[in-house]
Amino acid sequence: MTIGPLAWFRRLRHADAWIYGTMLFSACLSLLASFVLSIDAVRLAANPGVGLSCDINAVISCGTVALSWQAQLFGFPNAFLGMVAEPVVITIAVASLAGVRFPRGFMFAAQVVYTLGVAFAYWLFYEAMFSIGALCPWCLVITVSTTLVFATLTHVNIRDNNLYLPPRMQQAAARFIDADLDVLVVTIWLLVIALSVTTRYGSALFG
């Protein structure tokens, strides 16, 4: 029996290799962005004069995001959190690709902590858009990549029934994933972000 490309893709999408592979990719992207932002923050701290100007070549911003209080909510640059958290995700992804299966409680804990991280990333995204009013390209990379990691982590945890959901909810969630509606939700979500960025900064980016 031959299978169509769609069925083939669906089978691939729910396979460990795809799930953990994309998780690895998104986590690496997030780590890279955190790294760049951390270096910027350290450089800024060592040399307060450096960032305190509007560079004529920086069309995007005057670096106001990095200097806002929101950028150091816990007294150190937020990007440090990404440097701490993303390697854990990378480890989970690599170990899982190698065939390790983590206990249910472990994956549940990962889901809880990462959900907090995503909430924090979105709070920052909101603040940058509406309070600080400046666009920060690497921050956007973090917003998108943490969303992707969150989506794959949730996908695999629902697939493997790791979330201690009541049976009915678990069944509904599994059906939702099985019907690939999560792909649509994530796509819509990312497009909403893209739309809010183009609406808010369109004239700066394309004007």
Binding site: P48, V59, L191, A194, L195, S203
Partner: protein, 237 residues
């Protein structure tokens, strides 16, 4: 049981169709906002084109304030949208007033406009710089109060800036006669602002605020009171 199993996929199928429709609508909306944003420049407020007219008393791109015999030449390059220019001004504005007043310094103010893209298509940098040039042209002694007022009410980077009426209102607060602020709309000095911005860049300006004392870039702390004043007084000795 069989019925239920049949109904669920159908409902999910509907959800899938709805999702695809939403994706398509979002894509259309994104393209629409991009196209609209790209067309913004030719929209409501095109850059004034015309001959470069310098405000009377201006030296090249600078609005000059202070006694000709003052020993120290202070040059300030700014953009009214630049948040750090606001910080510098709010920290040192009074000191600059004082140093000019007691004849220590002569101020060369370069109002530039390179952050126009940061004001949602309203070209705030250019409008504010044109207003400053207009004030200087007709009432040079009101330039500093107006300059201070613009920075005291500086709009955040990325906002749509202050409206023309708000700028005129600040001019009024700074003691600029209404007859002058009515001329802001003429945008007479916009070509001059554009030309002096370009000239400053061609001369190697890296960013704003840039402050020069007797032609030498001041590298000290611009955002607390003291270091700048100290450097100026040292240069006067």
């Amino acid at each position: 049981m069989g019925k239920q199993a049949g109904r669920a996929p159908r409902r999910l199928g509907k959800a899938r169709v709805a999702g695809v429709v939403i994706v398509a609508l979002l894509l259309v909306a994104i393209v629409f906002t991009i196209v609209r944003a790209a067309g913004d420049d030719s929209g409501a407020k095109p850059a004034a084109s015309g001959p470069v007219v310098a405000p009377s008393g201006a030296v090249d791109g600078a609005l000059v304030v202070g006694q000709a015999g003052a020993p120290v030449k202070v040059e300030v390059y700014l953009d009214y949208m630049c948040p750090y220019c606001g910080q510098f001004e709010r920290a040192n504005g009074d000191e600059i007033d004082r140093l000019i007043g007691d004849g220590t310094a002569r101020l060369y103010l370069y109002p530039l406009a390179f952050l126009d893209e940061m004001s949602g298509g309203t070209r705030y940098s250019t409008r504010a710089a044109n207003a400053a040039a207009t004030v200087y042209d007709q009432a040079p002694d009101k330039l500093l109060p107006f300059n201070n007022a613009l920075f005291a009410h500086q709009p955040p980077e990325g906002s749509t800036g202050l409206s023309d009426d708000q700028i005129a209102g600040l001019a009024g607060q700074a003691g600029v006669p209404k007859a002058i602020s009515d001329d802001f709309d003429e945008r007479v000095f916009e070509p001059w602002v554009a030309a002096s911005t370009q000239a400053a860049f061609d001369a190697g300006l890296g960013g704003t605020p840039t402050v020069k004392i007797n032609g030498v870039k001041f590298e000290g702390d611009l955002y607390t009171v003291g270091p700048f004043t100290h450097a100026v007084t040292e240069a006067a000795k």
